[in-house]
Symmetry: C2
Subunit: 216 residues, 2 copies
DNA sequence: ACCTGAACACCGTTCAAGT
DNA sequence: ACCTGAACACCGTTCAAGT
């Protein structure tokens, strides 16, 4: 009423995001919410509010909520891919690297339970039509296939279809991760114990070499 | 207006369920919807409508929608438990029985994808407070533990903590099942191939006997 | 080219009221 | 003891309108 508004003033938050990369801001805000309050707390309204933007602004950049979740999933596969490769590479790319990669996979899921759940059962499950242009899960999977091929080349892994081997390895770590997230493993040590056991058994089913030393 | 209603008449559907077991009718209606139209189509309104009952009648028998889903999950574990036991028992309770049990697990998940998803990630994940009185997943798990103990007694399985072994086996079949449901395995044959491979590798990591015949 | 505000259809849930 | 009907708070989404 009283004060003469020379500049538009106010709109402090809106100003911040109008010029920036709104799609990216929405993605990272969605990620934040999912990680900290769970998937049920993610509403388009809350995302808009947090970003100082209308609740329908999202539709200028994403087809709908499902598309936003698809972007969240793709980002998850991108990060998983990187963590897997680092574990494999820094682990020395041998047996130790392989086992580090398995542990890193499970660790990622346990550290980001809600994000991990969005990565699966979401866009992936609804048929290829709604998949993002490049399926980011293929990237993460590719790291695993590459590792197995390299192990085979070094005579460290069984020489069988690498794609099938990789699917098997993925099944095992995915299964352990899901059981952990589903609350079947009640104490954190249980996850650790199963994780170690599974990866060790996995190697003795995949790796070639010592004839399964007697289990004492 | 015109016709004099001697008997209450009408209310043809309501009459049918007032005396019956409404909770059970609601559970099976929910199950039907989930199996045929997916979890997103399950609304309390539709359940009530199908049963000729108010959409809030459900609250007389279940705490809320989540509780209904918990009942759906429990029923799923009950059926899974039975199918696992039958596979194990009819398979001869040896190596063949064990492998039949693994195949039956994956088969159950593939045949009832939405139901299987409700079984996990739902009530199980939300902490012990909301779990049903007796955790029905323990029953299905118990069948697996019993089988492993029996295999150990017959000298067919590695002598190690049966609980840990069972968790490992569960991880593998759960992982294969989830990858199949998540659309990672595109063709049905892929599921079959991975399923067979995983169960065979599983046995050679769990069973005792022939020293891992050379993979040709 | 990007964003808003009102409106719409549809949820789960509560609660006073009925029988 | 069991069920109803209206009401409430909260969704995702559409669309004409603004800049």
């Amino acid at each position: 009423m009283a004060r003469p508004p020379k500049k538009p003033a106010a709109r402090p938050k809106a100003e911040r995001y109008h010029h920036g990369d709104l799609p990216r801001a929405m993605l990272s805000e969605a990620l934040r919410t999912i990680q900290r309050r769970g998937i049920d707390s993610l509403t388009l309204r809350s995302v808009g509010e947090k970003l100082g933007v209308s609740r329908t602004a999202l539709y200028r950049h994403f087809a709908n909520k499902e598309a936003l979740l698809g972007a969240v999933a793709a980002e998850g596969f991108r990060r998983l891919r990187q963590e897997l490769f680092e574990a494999w590479d820094q682990g020395g790319r041998g047996r130790a690297g392989f086992e580090a990669m398995g542990a890193a996979y499970i660790h990622f899921a346990v550290r980001h339970p809600s994000h991990y759940r969005v990565m699966f059962g979401g866009a992936l499950a609804k048929g290829d039509a709604t998949l993002p242009p490049q399926d980011k899960s293929a990237d993460a999977f590719g790291v695993l296939v590459d590792a197995l091929v390299e192990l085979q080349g070094a005579g460290l892994a069984v020489s069988q279809d690498a794609h099938l081997l990789a699917l098997f390895v993925w099944s095992v770590v995915h299964g352990v991760a899901m059981l952990a997230l589903d609350g079947v493993l009640h104490r954190p040590e249980d996850t650790e114990t199963l994780s170690r056991f599974a990866i060790e058994r996995l190697w003795s089913g995949i790796g070639v070499g010592m004839p399964a030393e007697a289990v004492k």
